[in-house]
Subunit: 207 residues, 3 copies
């Protein structure tokens, strides 16, 4: 039996995957919130629950990083990943909260396109987390390239949506509300890109 | 006489405490600015003075970090603390400036609740700085937990305030002005939380 | 013949200078965009091209950092500089895009003052990059002090411009559009300051 200089503690990958799976749930609740006839109070309540569960996973990762002597990759990088994933959830929760609190009546169709980008990013991220263990550099590379591509598409859609809000079609006070919501969606997409960039940095270091 | 491998230079704690005390002054001037019948020009002038003094303390810390061979804790962490404290002051100064420049007539009561949060954060931060010297981990922990709790309360109050601005009660151009001010207050609270998080990281490392 | 412990690879300085020169081009296109009777579509198209070229230089730097064993200064600092320069270009490109998409009719004269600040920052930055090689600390210091001074002037101008937008002179929907544009200009100036701060940190470390 050989010596393993760096024993692999697989629970980190399990927890990071769990954290990314909360984001699939969050993005799906966001899609529900945008649907016609959605019960905003009920969806917001379930989003709050999902956000609390995501918080617990984040705390479990941080606690594990602090109490583990040899981590599978840099302590700081695990911390970045955990807080990066948590940031996505916080932004999605904030958007749901804004839709509830601002009592927005009409949500333009452009918002759904952004939520679809978020759902796709969440799936890709959850699929990528277990690949950190095997450092399957090719599949990890496909993941971060695709998330960057999605972020670019989301950015273009974002600018067009803001231009539409400014077109004169909406009351100015509604423009203000919708602009906050639209910017929240874009920040959530940016937060996914940041996670992908962290994964890229880890993969480059470990290769 | 024994050897001290890490001679403690207490002036760092003195300067960091001084820096936090400028924030007590800043938060108090902000409260004055919101009071009925406040002389906006006069308060803004005194805020500018307070901000210059805070800048001088920050520069004194940075200069001391650069010229000291053995710092009591990581050079980078002292720098983070100093610039974090400075960021709070800058944000409070910016809010006072906006109230002056935008010529806002009516400031909703919700703003005072946020300034109370800022005043409480400033006191807690000034009390915590000297405890960095003795690394009294329990009192430091109480500090950062309380600041995080205050930031959560401030965040909830923030979202409700924005929802109130959007309720139709205010003219749209006034909504725009007040939104900038309200967001400035929230950024100042966030900046306090960032300082608390830096203290937590230092305490965890040193423990 | 003596040994060189740290062989200087001058191509890093060439690429960083090239990156800063793209910013001179970007700032000049921004000025063109603001000019009376500008062909917005045509300027925006040329800005997109300039932004793509800047991206290529950024990628060339990152690739070089990853493939070079001994870099002239910290790998991380080169990366910070490259991405900092890239952030300026992205912000300037975003402003041009907003002017095009929002179909803003009247651009207040205050915007030109901010673009002049950007043009001056770009020139100073392009002049400073080659001085990193010789670590001419005096000329580097003059550069970062001047950029910080310009950022302060830009910040004052920014607050006054926002106050003007809020003065009642403009339609509220136009205020919203112009505020986005004005904030974009300020972020571009901030991004120049961040580059200058990175240069300062490098110079302090190397001195």
């Amino acid at each position: 039996m050989g010596l393993r200089l760096r024993p692999v503690d697989t629970s980190f990958y399990v927890l990071l995957t769990e954290s990314a799976q909360h984001l699939i749930r969050g993005a799906s609740l966001l899609a529900e919130m945008l649907a016609d006839g959605a019960d905003h109070d009920d969806v917001a309540r379930r989003m709050r629950e999902a956000e609390h569960q995501a918080d617990e996973t984040t705390h479990a990762i941080v606690k594990k990083v602090n109490s583990t002597f040899v981590t599978p990759f840099d302590r700081e990088d695990i911390y970045s990943l955990a807080s990066g994933l948590d940031d996505v959830m916080d932004m999605m929760d904030e958007v749901v909260d804004m839709i509830l609190l601002y009592e927005v009546k009409l949500l333009p169709a452009e918002l759904s396109a952004q939520v679809e980008v978020l759902q796709r990013c969440a799936e890709l991220t959850a699929d990528a987390m277990p690949n950190l263990q095997s450092m399957q550099s090719q599949s990890l590379e496909e993941y971060w390239i695709e998330v960057n591509r999605l972020e670019n598409a989301g950015d273009k859609n974002h600018r067009r949506t803001i231009a539409k809000l400014f077109s004169g079609e909406f009351k100015t006070i509604e423009v203000l509300k919708l602009k906050d919501i639209v910017e929240g969606l874009e920040e959530a997409i940016d937060a996914f890109e940041k996670v992908a960039n962290t994964v890229e940095q880890i993969a480059v270091k470990e290769s």
